[in-house]
Every structure is written in structure tokens, then in C-alpha cells.
């Protein structure tokens, strides 16, 4: 590996009192990878992701994200990553344009730069004639594409996607993954959590968390080989079956 890892953790741990949500996880994500971060509910995915995105300060261990330390430089990390979650994509009561302007604005884009980014984004998504419409009136698939583009409006090198395709039909999901591939080809690293195992197959590498630890991490093909499984679904099931934590 010649390139520098974009995410690098070493024994990263987060405890809440006696409960250890994330237990000494160590892994690296290389630039341009689509890194699938899997795990059952309660396995510690969300906590790990919060630490990596500068929302939570870890209890112990080491981690650097886009070259910054998660303990000391969370502000710098926040500036250089994008984030999109299934729970919320865009403000329904604002227009497409206003949403782009707002999220561009909070990432420090303004004036000509913002206008340029906005025009480019609308053109790429072919939403030019919809820019004055309320986001609420867009179909869910479009919202999601727009949301993904907005998460990357400040051209981050790394994007966190937290279950980005929840509640979307298969065709839209496929289209969404095409966007992810396109972004990865342009050198953006994608860190994605999902519950859909077919999506796990699309990733360049996946890690599966069980009870706060990383139980397995490799390319989907290698994982299937190792567990003698037909698909990722079986791999996941074999590993997650051993979990002691419930929801």
C-alpha cells in the first residue's frame, strides 16, 4: 500500500460507564475505497461512526481521520468530511436551492464559489427546473440523490453514509449506488453502514462488528470464501449469531 490511509484507528474504544460500546477496534481505510461498515443493531456501529466523525470523544486508543487526530482536531475533521444519514436528508420546507445554499453555507461556501457549486450540482442531477420547488415535493429517490450531492458540496475527501438507502425501492437503490461508485472513482472515500447485504457485496471491503469488536474484515469475496458462504447474508448471519448483546 503506497498511499496514506484516510482513516486509521488503533485500539479505539468508547465506554459509557461500565458499558463498552466500542471495544478496541483497529482498522484502516484507504483513499478511494468503498468501506462497508456492517453490524447488527447495538453492535456499536453508530458509536464508532460518531467517534470517527468528530461527534464523540473516544475513551482510549488512537484514531486519525483525513489526517487529523480525533481527540484534538475534531473541528478540522468536521470541515473535511461529508455526512449523510437515512434519518434525515434535507429540509422539506425549504426549496432545493435553499437547501443547497444552507448546507453549502455551513461548510463555508459563499459568493461565487457557492453559486458555482450550486449550478454544477443542479446540472449534474438535472434538477435545474426544480430548483425553486420545495424539497417535500420531490420523490424520495431524488431527495436521496440530492442529499448525497449536498453532503459532498464542499468536496470532502471522505463521506460517511449512515444507512443511506433505508426505505427506498431496489431500482432507486441501484441508482444511488451508481452515484457512490462515481464518487469513489473520483477519489472520494466512502464509509457506509447498511443493513442490506446485497449492498455489502458492492463494497470494496467490509468490516462486520459484533458486540463492539470487529469480528471480520476483508473483501466480500474473501469473506465468503473464508466462511464457505454463498453470499454476504450468510457470512453476516454466521458472525452475528454469536452476539451476546441484543438491541
Amino acid at each position: 500500500m503506497s498511499k496514506e490511509a484516510i482513516i486509521k484507528t488503533n485500539d479505539l474504544t468508547k465506554s459509557f460507564g461500565a458499558f463498552t460500546a466500542v471495544d478496541k477496534i483497529t482498522f484502516e481505510v484507504m483513499p478511494g475505497e468503498i468501506f462497508g461498515f456492517l453490524g447488527a443493531n447495538g453492535a456499536g456501529k453508530t458509536t464508532a461512526m460518531k467517534m470517527l466523525s468528530g461527534l464523540l470523544i473516544p475513551t482510549s486508543g488512537k484514531a486519525s481521520v483525513v489526517g487529523f487526530d480525533v481527540f484534538k482536531q475534531s473541528e478540522m475533521i468536521k470541515k473535511n468530511i461529508g455526512y449523510m444519514s437515512q434519518k434525515f436528508s434535507l429540509y422539506d420546507d425549504l426549496t432545493v436551492e435553499e437547501n443547497i445554499a444552507f448546507f453549502g453555507g455551513i461548510y463555508g461556501l459563499r459568493g461565487d464559489v457557492l453559486e458555482h457549486a450550486q449550478a454544477e450540482l443542479l446540472q449534474r442531477l438535472q434538477l435545474m427546473d426544480q430548483s425553486k420547488k420545495l424539497v417535500a415535493s420531490l420523490p424520495l429517490g431524488w431527495k436521496q440523490k440530492l442529499s448525497f450531492s449536498v453532503a459532498m458540496i464542499h468536496k470532502p475527501r471522505l463521506v460517511f453514509l449512515d444507512e443511506p438507502t433505508g426505505g427506498v425501492d431496489p431500482i432507486t437503490r441501484r441508482q444511488f449506488w451508481e452515484m457512490i461508485y462515481e464518487a469513489a472513482e473520483n477519489g472520494v472515500t466512502i464509509f457506509v453502514t447498511t443493513h442490506y447485504m446485497d449492498e455489502a457485496e458492492y463494497c470494496s471491503r467490509v468490516s462486520i462488528m459484533v458486540d463492539g469488536k470487529i469480528a471480520a474484515m476483508d473483501t466480500p469475496r474473501a469473506l465468503k470464501d473464508r466462511f464457505g458462504a454463498k453470499n454476504m447474508d450468510e457470512v453476516f448471519y454466521t458472525l452475528a449469531r454469536g452476539a451476546k448483546r441484543g438491541e
Binding site: S53, G54, L55, L56, I57, E75, K78, K79, I81, Y83, M84, S85, K87, F88, Y91, D93, L94, E98, A101, F102, F103, G105, I106, Y107, G108, R110, L134, F160
Partner: protein
């Protein structure tokens, strides 16, 4: 700073899009002012009363005339038989009956003593008391005019003056009251709901992973509501002055400054609530029951605090609305200056600082 502006702009867009809430924010003070000003008045004005008088002689007629002429009473029934009194009240035709005794004029002239009985419907004790008071006043006046002709060796004349509000207009009480309550409700509820909404939708998380300072997120959400509350203050003051003809005696700038301070108090309370709960419904419930009810009871607007038992009087001190209500009455009605309300001001400043501090602390704890 520019990021902050982007935020504020977005908040205004939210408020602007939500036409229904916006309408409520503007229409509520207007409606309350009209309701209290014209419908819910506890002033006695043109109240229906009846006269029971077996024989209408000249003396009686001149008393009745005086009563009928006053703006307080309208005589809608003349009775001749005491049996009629009960029916009059039962059918709710009026609230008071004035009974003149038999041979009223004769007795007045020869015995120098005649009796009048005032019977009030005390199902509403406040109104009954007020009406009896007015009737006594009118009869007293009449008596004085009789005395003018004869000379009594001694006389104590009672002269009453109602300071600050000689016409006993209820506006002097409800305008400050409505103002205090509206600010309490809107400031707290709108802020807390708007912040909790972001939590519920999950957008809060998105804002927190952005490089924006979390505190900025919170304060920018409060700003549009601060402005709307201030607009409400102006609406109420303008209506008080030009619709209800209530003079605003104190310094208007002092009044506005104090209102801004109280708006900050309610916003800080709103922040505190929003940082403690995760659902809009809960935020609304806490604002309504946890804050609106005590404000209604303990502000002194509806029920005089001096008449409450000691423990309740003590509790009233922790209700911010009470202090603002007192400031409003002092400045607006009595025309007092800052030297009279500095203590109140200090308390409100202290409360605001305390709420903000706790809110920010709670917010930080949630983050880690």
C-alpha cells in the same frame, strides 16, 4: 459570522414557510387583546338591575333617575312585590335589585331616616361587590346633595381616589397580563419545539457533524422567535394605546428594553426545555403545563398574590412571568422609572443567566 447568517436565514425561511404558525404568532396577541378588551371585561358597565318600590314618590324617582343615568346600570324591571325578586335572579335577568322601603319619601322627610336595601347576585362575587359598591356610591352622592340644604354639626366626608386608574379600567391589568403570558408561551414553546423538531427529524446530528459550533446552532434557532416576540410586544402596545385608549405612562424605551430582557428569559427557558427532551410533543406539553399554568396562576394577573397562602407566595417568586408582569405594571401603568424596578430586572437577568448556563451545560453533556 457568515455561517451564523446562513443559519439565521434558514431559520427565517422555516418560520416563513410555516404560514400557520406564523399566523398564530401574529394573530394570537391581536385576538387576546380583543377578547380581553371587549368580551371578557370584568368591568361593570350597563348592568341590568331591577328596582323594587311599592310606591313611586318623588324622592324615589330622583334616586332612580340618578342610578339609571349612571353608565354602570340599566334598569330593566320595576317591581312592586318582593316575590318577584327571586324569579328575577333565577331567570338571570339582572345582577342586582334595589329595594326602597314603603313610604320612602315620608320617612326621609319626617324621621330623617329611610332604608334602602341592595340585593346582589353573588354567584359572581367580584361583580356583585363591585355593583353594590357603585350603587352605594350613587346613593351616597344623593344623600350628600340632600345634606347640602341642612347643616349637620359634624360630618366626615370620605373621598376616594383610585390612583393610576381612576376609571377602574380592566385594560390596566390585562394588557400587561396578556403581554407577559404571550411572551412566556411563544418564547418558550416556539423555541423549544423548533429545536426539538431538528432532533426528531435527525437533522440535529447533521448540523453537529458540520463544522458549525453547536452553540451557534442553538442560538440561531432562537433568534427568529426573539424577533417575532418583539413584534408581538409592539402589536400589543399599539393596540393598547390606539384601540383600547390606554395611556402608556412610563418611558417607552425602558418598557421595550425590559421586554427584550424578558424575551431572552423565555428563550433561555425554551433552550433549557429543548435540551432536556427529544420529542416535540413533550416540549409542547412542558411549555404549556409546566410553564404556562404556573405563569397564569402565579403572575398576579388573574389572582392577587397578596391573598395567597404564604407557601404559594414564596413559590410565585420563582415564576419569571411574575417579575415581568410587575415591571410592566410599574412602568406602563404607574409610569415609574428604572430606580423602582432594578430589583426585578436583576432577578430576571439572574434567571436568564442561570437558564442559559444550565441549557448550555446540558447541551454539552449530551454531546460527549
Amino acid at each position: 459570522m457568515k455561517t451564523f447568517l446562513a443559519f439565521v436565514l434558514k431559520e427565517f425561511q422555516h418560520v416563513w414557510r410555516d404560514k400557520r404558525s406564523l399566523f398564530i404568532l401574529i394573530a394570537m396577541p391581536v385576538m387576546l387583546m380583543f377578547i380581553f378588551g371587549f368580551a371578557l371585561s370584568n368591568e361593570v358597565k350597563n348592568s341590568n338591575i331591577a328596582i323594587l318600590c311599592p310606591k313611586l314618590d318623588e324622592e324615589v324617582l330622583s334616586v332612580i333617575e340618578k342610578i339609571d343615568q349612571s353608565k354602570y346600570f340599566t334598569i330593566n324591571k320595576m317591581m312592586h312585590n318582593p316575590n318577584e325578586i327571586e324569579n328575577y335572579f333565577k331567570q338571570n335577568k339582572g345582577k342586582m335589585v334595589i329595594v326602597f322601603e314603603n313610604d320612602f319619601a315620608d320617612k326621609l322627610e319626617h324621621d330623617k331616616l329611610a332604608n334602602v336595601q341592595l340585593i346582589g347576585d353573588a354567584t359572581d362575587p367580584n361583580t356583585a361587590t363591585t355593583m353594590i359598591g357603585y350603587a352605594q356610591g350613587i346613593i351616597g352622592d344623593y344623600q350628600k346633595s340632600l345634606l347640602g340644604e341642612t347643616n349637620l354639626p359634624y360630618a366626615i366626608q370620605v373621598e376616594t381616589r383610585m390612583l393610576y386608574n381612576p376609571q377602574l379600567l380592566s385594560a390596566y391589568n390585562f394588557v400587561p397580563g396578556v403581554m407577559a403570558l404571550i411572551l412566556t408561551l411563544l418564547g418558550t414553546m416556539m423555541t423549544s419545539v423548533s429545536i426539538v423538531k431538528e432532533k426528531e427529524f435527525g437533522s440535529m446530528e447533521l448540523l453537529l457533524v458540520s463544522p458549525v459550533k453547536p452553540i451557534m446552532v442553538i442560538f440561531s434557532k432562537a433568534l427568529p422567535y426573539a424577533l417575532l416576540c418583539f413584534i408581538d410586544v409592539l402589536i400589543i402596545l399599539l393596540m393598547a394605546r390606539y384601540v383600547l385608549d390606554m395611556p402608556i405612562r412610563g418611558n417607552i424605551f425602558l418598557l421595550l428594553a425590559m421586554s427584550v430582557l424578558f424575551i431572552f428569559t423565555t428563550l433561555s427557558l425554551g433552550l433549557l426545555i429543548s435540551n432536556s427532551v427529544d420529542q416535540q410533543q413533550v416540549a409542547m406539553f412542558i411549555s404549556l403545563v409546566g410553564l404556562m399554568m404556573p405563569s397564569l396562576i402565579f403572575s398576579g394577573f388573574m389572582f392577587p398574590i397578596e391573598n395567597m397562602p404564604k407557601p404559594m407566595q414564596i413559590i410565585s417568586n420563582i415564576v419569571p412571568t411574575k417579575w415581568y408582569f410587575e415591571i410592566l405594571k410599574s412602568v406602563m401603568v404607574k409610569g415609574l422609572g428604572f430606580s423602582y424596578i432594578w430589583k426585578h430586572t436583576l432577578i430576571l437577568v439572574g434567571m436568564t443567566a442561570f437558564f442559559t448556563l444550565v441549557a448550555v451545560r446540558k447541551f454539552k453533556i449530551r454531546l460527549s
